[in-house]
Amino acid sequence: MHERIVITGAGVISCLGVGVEEFEGSLYSGASGVKPSELFGEHEITAEIRNFTPQQWLGNKGIRVLDRSARLLCVAVHQALCGSDLRLDDSGQGDPGLGMICGTMFGSLHSITSFDWSGLVEGPNYVNPMEFPNTVINSPAGQAAIKYKLRGINSTVCAGLASGLYALHCGAEFLRFGRARILLAGGMEELCEESVLGFGKSGLISPSGSLRPFGKNRDGTILGEGSALLVLEGEESAAARHAKPWMEISGFGCAHDAQSVSAFRVRAEGATASIQEALASAGIGPEQIGCIVSGASGSRTGDEMEVRALQNVFQDRLGKIVICAPKAAVGETMGASGAICALVAGIALRRQATPPTAGLMDGDTSLLLSKDPQPFDGEYALVTAFGCDGNNTSMVLRRWMQ
């Protein structure tokens, strides 16, 4: 029998707010952060974090060396520690049992390109040595560990849009192996001109500037940014420090079915297999799923693949299970998206209601979508994160019960 891995806290920053309370309030009010960009000009539509001033949480000292990715992650760490009675005092030596597993798609993409840019334009003698450490993909996780004295495992998981769920799964496994006592696990992704350019040139961004997951007239996604971390620990660790579990990670499934680097597999073999594996590892059948938090992002083929996978697993019952697609409100946050959806699932299980799918207009009628919160009665939530690179992941979360 596996040890039960519970979630005792969370930290989040996104265009919907900072901290679980603010995020939850905005999400359930039906708000959306998808708006004309302040970072790249009004012609771009993004779900960016506006007026991002991390100093209010991170202080003024030591912030100069942190790039946007590291700042986002550090704010999420700060929120997670504060909300879990784990905050260390500045004189502390750090906790060797406390670590981090961070999922990300690109990491500090802007730091990487600006380092190259300065070398090419100004000459190799003029590159800034302080920028070099930020050009490795695990730099944000490293910077966060330095700042918050996380002395345990520190690992960065790169698996495209599935990174966030992979990171949660890896965290749960490390805990089961006894390699850590408490892990902050989840994902982070910054919005930068390079990712906007790359997604735009690849034809993945919605030309109409709207993000309509499962919408009949959907025409692409809108990029967002942020970070979500869940505080993971074994049931015994939580009990020993009198931390109240919120939910538990019951099951996880992954399957890779790439046929191309940029096209979804619309027959959905991998996506279907990942859901089935997640259910099997949770030891439940599809009829026990109370709600679905989908990673659908408004992609024509991606959302079609997801509907097919859900139909394959849930069959006739699919139209009776409440489902929501948080990316309508927070944008496509890439490596952070799986963790943000897992957080949403946790909130939905606690409230026994899924949040609205923001601005829903022409949703797929075979799915129980709504632009309002939808109540349900259930113990388990399914979270999906499928990428166009063939990385398909699903996770089953369970409302905490003794």
Partner: protein
């Protein structure tokens, strides 16, 4: 602006501004004689950052060994001036 026109005062202000930025202080907190390592907490990577920024600003190339001997803003101004003089003569 030609190199000859850069005054010691201008260099001093620029270096102080730079050191302040890198050590996350206000420029007035960086005195001319404050020791880079002991008083301002500048480590080897930060020192190279200052070197690169100064080189870039004045289009000079101060060798790392020479820069390593600099202990404070006063020394830095002197080294920059020397190299600017050299560059001016070479023109």
């Amino acid at each position: 602006m030609t190199n000859q026109q850069v005054t010691a005062e201008e260099i001093r202000n620029a270096v102080r501004q730079l050191v302040a930025e890198i050590t996350e202080r206000e420029p007035q907190e960086v005195s001319e004689k404050a020791d880079f390592i002991e008083e301002l907490g500048i480590d080897s990577l930060m020192a190279i950052e200052i070197l690169v920024a100064v080189d870039k600003k004045y289009k000079i190339e101060i060798p790392e060994e020479e820069f390593g001997k600099i202990r404070n803003v006063y020394d830095a101004v002197e080294v920059v001036q020397r190299h600017l003089g050299g560059a001016a003569k070479a023109q």
